[in-house]
Symmetry: C2
């Protein structure tokens, strides 16, 4: 999942129903699979309008999904063996190979990659923060993703408590911010709301830091204890490099630094971010297709991003959903039935840096978009799919609920969100 | 707190009442301080036998303890400014200076250090675990404390899943353990019981690993997620170096390695533990005394260890109790009253490596021990003192509860443990 500022004003008028499905961990319900198996044995959930096709396909697809499946092993290979896969990295190349192979194993022989260009590759060097005075302690930190590198030997500066980084904090610091390394305090992140609030807040802080002449920003980690996480912090997220060197400091260490500053200590630090920045470089989405029977030039896109940040293995964000899209292709292919329209399965790269892969896809396939009847994007965690957003197309809700999702009624995939979800690859389908 | 094997058979016959006080975080009670303030205004809690002395001293001491105090600032300096203080390290030297200064600020001018010798100093180098094949991921790990260093360049070996390290695991591995780097699986540590169970289990595992010809041990971290902790793992804990190079691997990384081994991957690793080992070296306890009025050659020892491990700042284990002992000296001194017997305030070093400081203290002061009427040791966390152990001297319970602790009745310091507590500096007072 990536975070981009709200663009909801733009969205309602677009034709494509860019659905994003939320697969979040929900409170357990009593054996939903048992109910699914009942549903699979019945065709009554289908709508009247397409009863024959639905009657054929839905129970078979559901039965395939509930039967023996390579999904878990696919996901294990992607996460445990390949692991974190930053856009443009060798690991992401392996992940694309994994995806092509997994689609082909699922019976979709036409699986292939589609190239696009990203402006920069990025990987973290040996991030190091040293407290020069007073004699300090080891500070645990990671570079912000797509942060510029510091010059060889790092940069030195006084550490200045920049509070929350609000305009009044910069007013309070005045000229002290110039040439300083700023410590920005944060709250613990506990919800999606906190995540998006952080995204809305951070770009302004960076702008103010740049204007004030600060040399770098140290963000207090928003995860409790010593857990480190990495993401982008700036606006734009078009694959460009951030405006200021920035690191995320483990919360306990950052709080200790903040307490020391509060006790009137003058703290001098050296920040070394020898990040490796390259590019422009070629990157790739993975595309596979089940060709339509009646209207092969009309498309349904089923997508998820394959890239991840690299401190973890990208299992929840978004390996599970990448493996799910492969599984959907397998389950449909296994029925031996051909859909009316073509189904395009797309695993995007570059999502975490600003949905670069889906942006490339809609540009490459622009002339098809008017014939793309739906783009269904999976992101935001694991667990069974519990709901969906229609990207502003409220008019589609009855049709989606009563027809498309009818065979899944018993699974409760009905937590409908009225708001357009803007944090993942559906956005470019809305914009184009 | 240090962990040493049970010696309960030895204890009951010793004369000294080596009390260890548990200052653990308890469920909050409604305003215990309010009740303390009531008690401070009353002398009725004193026993009849020493009513006059108690009537004078207890309310004044309690009032001092509840008034404005440098305790929090002392603790901040010890933990935030000095931080983790491994026995024999420069930080531990600063901590001893802190203690002498804090006692003197508390009015105890005779505060001084007492030297003793530790067999080895130890500090961690740049611990590094590299997965040589297949192409791996960054493994987060720390060296076990007092682990031997690996030779320059580290050691290489196949990583072998040694299960729980039980005899049957070694039987299963057979010759595969020879020359291997063993991965030992663990459970998440959730209680003191788990902590001591680990201590009882680990030495046998190390013995078996040595016998099987393994080159090193990687312990799966017992803390959840990516949190690392450090302690000693071996038996003995007399300040000697462990028998085998050992590291603790962040639980998520260790679980990933275990899953990869379970998926039949052959994993080759290089373990580099460039630990710096020195010594023998001089180390020091800090001792301060309020001289007794009637029986100056009889002693009450009030002690806590000042050293800590060094991944954290040693606030809970045991900075808070070191600061508490200083505060007790201040509170008693401030009354202007002289106790009947001398009160010896001792902050020990070397506790985490096997209670080396208290061992040195009892050897140095052996001829005084028969005139040492009590040794009260604080360890095991923060929060108000909620109970005590009498080190096997059940006969003392009525006297302690009805006389010594009577002024604190309203605070509920009465969670009496029948078992001797063996994990801290009281042990040497029991043994000598």
């Amino acid at each position: 999942m990536v975070r981009r500022n709200s663009l909801s004003g733009f969205l309602a008028a677009f034709f494509v129903a860019a659905i994003s499905a939320s697969a979040q961990i929900s409170a357990p319900e009593p054996d939903p699979l048992a109910r699914m198996r009942q549903a699979a044995a019945s065709v009554q959930a289908c709508s009247a309008s397409e009863i024959s096709a639905c009657a054929q396909a839905a129970p078979k697809i559901i039965a395939n999904a509930l039967g023996a499946s390579p999904l878990a092993e696919n996901l294990r290979r992607l996460t445990d063996e390949i692991g974190g896969r930053l856009t443009g990295s060798p690991a992401m190349g392996k992940a694309a190979d994994w995806a092509v192979a997994a689609f082909r194993d699922a019976g979709i022989d036409n699986a292939h990659t589609e190239k696009f260009t990203i402006p920069h590759t990025w990987s973290e060097g040996a991030t190091h923060i040293q407290i020069l005075s007073p004699s300090g302690f080891p500070v645990h930190a990671v570079s912000v993703a797509w942060s510029p590198a510091t010059p060889p030997g790092g940069i030195e500066g006084d550490l200045v408590d920049a509070g929350d980084g609000a305009p009044e904090d910069f007013a309070r610091m005045g000229p002290d911010a110039r040439g300083a390394i700023l410590l920005i305090r944060t709250d613990v992140l506990r919800s999606f709301g906190d995540l998006f609030a952080e995204d809305l807040r951070n770009p302004g802080i960076i702008e103010r830091a740049v204007s004030a002449g600060a040399r770098a920003i140290l963000w207090m980690g928003t995860r409790e204890g010593m857990l480190l996480s990495r993401h982008l912090t700036g606006l734009g997220q078009d694959g460009s490099i951030e405006k200021l060197p920035q690191a995320i400091v483990a919360r306990e260490d950052a709080q200790r630094l903040a307490r020391d500053l509060g006790a009137e200590q003058r703290i001098r630090v050296r920040l070394d971010l020898p990040n490796r920045i390259g590019g422009p470089a070629e990157e790739q989405n993975v595309v596979a297709e089940i060709r339509g029977r009646e209207r092969p030039n009309e498309f349904i896109v089923l997508g998820a991003h394959l890239d991840s940040f690299d401190l973890g293995t990208g299992a929840l964000d978004n390996g599970c959903n990448a493996a799910l899209v492969v599984e959907a292709a397998r389950d449909i292919h296994l029925t031996g039935l051909l859909p009316k329209r073509s189904i395009r399965f797309v695993l995007f790269s570059g999502e975490e840096e600003g949905m670069l892969g889906s942006w490339a896809y809609v540009r490459t396939h622009r002339e098809e978009l008017d014939r793309t009847d739906a783009a269904i994007i999976f992101d935001e965690g694991s667990g069974r799919v519990s709901g969906f957003s229609l990207g502003g197309r409220l008019d589609l809700q009855p049709e989606v609920l009563q027809q498309a999702l009818a065979p899944l009624n018993s699974w409760g995939v009905n937590r409908f969100t009225e708001d357009a979800v803007l944090g993942t690859d559906n956005l470019d389908f809305l914009l184009e």
